[in-house]
Structures are given as structure tokens and as C-alpha cells.
Symmetry: C2
Subunit: 269 residues, 2 copies
């Protein structure tokens, strides 16, 4: 694109506060942008900033024609209403795909969202590239967050899987997961999914990234998924590790969404 | 409302062509409006009308402050793109709840749509009024249409059911339905759900309205649901008949959505 039309895609990130995990996610995204030639910029706002400060940062990125994607790093501090902030982000620059208009178009048949949320898109991409058949297979999604569980279940349905959604109210979730050919878990509970939760040969995608104390590690903690890997790896036909499984795919899809957005703006194909 | 502020809610319906079923649905809606004191009006357009004619009717109802709800009777003739027509309907008057923004807000946690689609809303209302517990129960939704299956599955999840969505690609759907405490079917296939598809004591809501030939009936056909009623009634703890089950609830919810819309406009509580 740079050679063809002298333009590069641009990604803007709004970060509020100094959560350690958010800072690390944002740093990874910036580094990935630099690697592939996407211009990136960050608005770092203080933890106690007002809603108007966030909206101000949003509208200045919105007005900037060199910015093709804007993302608000979640979670926001308690005093800011995520829904109200995300509503202000125009669907055309919503590279995270979290705007309700994009989510509605993802859910509805015969429609196409402008952007598909990055983590779910990365999960499906991994399945497709690994040659896992989705159509007609049973899939269980554990968790129903707006960021992962919900869009993953919608996307699996788009690919014609038979989807069951398991959550905190579900009694005996293992009876549902152990029928599934594909299990995607984003519950935020370490070691939730044990070996006996899985059907032999199932494909397991672990989206959990849970910090657990570990005095032996450099920062005093390490990241673990929702799946008891040692048990699951003996039952599953394929499984993603944590860290290093879904995370890099999420970033790749963010870059891909940003590129798509720039292509759309410049009508570049 | 009429006595309090001298205003009545107004509902406008756009009908294209002369499908017998659509005409009958619209007639029922108009009669229901008249019964409860909602002003109703119909724009009847010819089968071969252009997209601009439909959009013209939409925008004139949109500009009319006495109209609080607009619905486009579906299905539209093949040459009109339903999605593009519905996109033009403002979410504030979308009493059918089919706009992607309303659907996205129905799907996402922590958000509220302005309107919930009438048939799914009617199904849940029946469950609640019949004292059927939804939270933590297993629900199977058969069919994934934008009008019924999708919003029903989203709404059941809002009420904390564990939902599985069954569709044409599902292998052995009866293995899923026979685990469900609540079965909602909107597949459009007569007698699809047999007695052995159901768990004893399940609650069954039949949204199917399929015309089947019947020389003995007045019009040469009668309406039948997706459920083999004679078999299912012996297994289920509760079941809705077709006709006369979900249909009247759909109309009641349309009136309720229209009233809610007028209340919102006039800030009347």
C-alpha cells in the first residue's frame, strides 16, 4: 500500500490508567504495528480522567484522516461507562468490532459487520488454517463476554457450527463440553476445564489469560489459561497453549482489521 | 395516555405486494391496534414497487410525529434487499427490533435494546407468566432466523439459560433437544419435532406456522407448527398450540413495543 499509493494504515489506541496487563497488551500491539509498517499512536490518559477527556481523545482520532482504526483498551476504570464510550466510536473505525452496530451485523444472517472482534476472528482463523471442519460440528463456548464469548459463539454459528454457550449459571457444564468437537473457553477461571470435560479428539482453544501467583517467576506471577493443559493435551487432538496461543492471533487480526479499514478508505485492493 | 396527555400511540405498517399470509398478519395487527386504542396506518405498495418507493414510505412515516412505531411486513419481494430497507428505519421507531443496532444491543451484556423483537419477547413473556424458571435451565432453539431463532437465543441467554442453537447443519438435532428443559422451535418444517425429541417434562414453544394442504378446510389448507403436537403433548409439561399459541403473543408484544415507544417520546410514565 505504501509503495502503491504512498499511504500507510494508522491505528490509534486510547489507554486510561496504568493497569499492568493493559500496558503490556498495548506495548505488544504497538510493536506489532511497527513490525508490519502500520503507523500507531497512543493517547495515554490518567486513571482519574473524565468521560469528556476520553471522548475528546476519541473525537480527535476520529477527525484524523491518517487514523483508520481506533481502539479503547478495556477494561476502563469503574467510573467510566464502557458502553457510552464505545457508542461514540464510529463503526467505520471500530477495529475491535465492539460497537453494537458491528455486533448486530455479526449476529444477523445476510449481513456483514465492518469488523469482526479480533480474538474470535483469530480463533476461527486458527481452526480454518489447521484444517478443522466447523460446519455441522458441535462447539461449546465457555463464557459470554462481549469481547470474546458472545462474538465467538456468533462467528462459529456463521460457520454453521451447532453452538452451545456455557456460563456461570450452567449446571454441570462438563456434560455439554464433553459432547463438543470444538471447545473455546474464555471464562477467566484457571484450570476450569479438566481432561474429563473433553471428548477424545476435541479441538481446544484456550482464551483464558489468568495471572496466578508464582514466586519462582520474574514478576512473581505467571499467566495461565482456563484449561488444565497437562490433562487436556492427553485428550484433545489439538490445543492452544497459554501464553503464546490465542494472544498473537488477536494482535494479527487487529493488524488485519486496521489494514482492511485503510483499504476501504483509500479504495485500495 | 389518551386521558392523561391527549395523545395516543401510532403504528405504521408498510406492506409490499399481496401475499395472503402477510395480508392476514397485517389485518390482525390493525384489528389489535383498534381494540386497544392505538392509531394505525398502512402503506400498501404494489408487488413490483421500487426500493425508492419503499424508502419514501419509510421516510414519510419517520417524519410523522404521530407515528411511534414503523414496521415493514416481511418477507419483501425478492427484488428488494430487506437489509438495506431495514437499515434506513431509525432504531427509535423500529418496534420490530430488527435493526442491527437494536439486535447488537440485545446481544451484548450491559446494554439494552430500544425494542426486543416481538415473537421472542412473547415467548419469554409466556415462560415468565407460566412460572417456568429460565435461569440455569437448558434451552434448545431450533432455527436461527434473524426474526425468531437468533433473537430468541439471545433473549434466553439474557435470562441466564444455557442455550444451544440447532439448525439445518446440525447432525442428530434430537440428541440436543432431548436434553433441553425448554425447546423453542422456529424451523418452518411441519412435524419436525417428534415426541422422542423431547425430554419428559420439557416446556415446548412452537413458533412454526406452516401451511399444509387440507382439502377439508375452508381455504384448502390449514396452519401447522414445527411440533408433532399429538406426540409432544404426551411428553411435555407445557406446550403451545398452532394456531393460537405464539401468534397472539407476538401481536400483544407489538402493541406493547409501540406503547413503550410513544411513552418514550412523550416522556410519559
Amino acid at each position: 500500500m505504501k509503495e502503491g499509493i504512498g499511504m500507510v494504515p494508522g491505528l490509534a489506541v486510547i489507554v486510561v490508567g496504568h493497569r499492568r496487563d493493559s500496558q503490556s497488551y498495548v506495548r505488544n500491539k504497538m510493536m506489532a504495528c511497527a513490525e508490519v509498517g502500520i503507523k500507531s499512536m497512543v493517547a495515554q490518559l490518567p486513571e482519574d480522567c473524565t468521560k469528556d477527556q476520553v471522548l475528546g481523545a476519541l473525537s480527535s482520532f476520529d477527525a484524523d484522516p491518517s487514523v483508520h482504526g481506533i481502539l479503547v483498551q478495556l477494561p476502563l476504570p469503574q467510573h467510566l461507562d464502557e458502553g457510552k464510550v464505545l457508542d461514540v466510536l464510529r463503526p467505520e473505525k471500530d477495529v475491535d468490532g465492539f460497537h453494537p452496530l458491528n455486533m448486530g451485523n455479526l449476529a444477523m444472517r445476510g449481513r456483514e459487520p465492518l469488523f469482526i472482534p479480533c480474538t474470535p476472528k483469530g480463533c476461527i482463523e486458527m481452526l480454518l488454517r489447521s484444517g478443522v471442519e466447523i460446519a455441522g460440528r458441535k462447539a461449546a463456548v465457555i463464557g459470554r463476554s462481549n469481547i470474546v464469548g458472545l462474538p465467538t459463539s456468533l462467528l462459529l454459528q456463521r460457520h454453521h457450527a451447532t453452538v452451545s454457550i456455557v456460563h456461570a449459571f450452567t449446571k454441570n457444564p462438563e456434560l455439554i463440553t464433553c459432547e463438543a468437537d470444538i471447545v473455546v473457553t474464555a471464562a477467566g477461571v484457571p484450570n476450569l476445564v479438566r481432561g474429563n470435560w473433553l471428548k477424545p479428539g476435541a479441538v481446544v482453544i484456550d482464551v483464558g489469560t489468568n495471572p496466578v501467583e508464582d514466586p519462582s517467576s520474574e514478576h512473581g506471577y505467571r499467566l495461565t489459561g482456563d484449561v488444565c493443559y497437562e490433562e487436556a493435551v492427553r485428550v484433545a487432538s489439538a490445543i492452544t497453549p497459554v501464553p503464546g496461543g490465542v494472544g498473537p492471533m488477536t494482535i494479527a487480526m487487529l493488524l488485519s482489521n486496521t489494514l482492511d479499514s485503510a483499504k476501504r478508505v483509500y479504495a485500495f485492493t
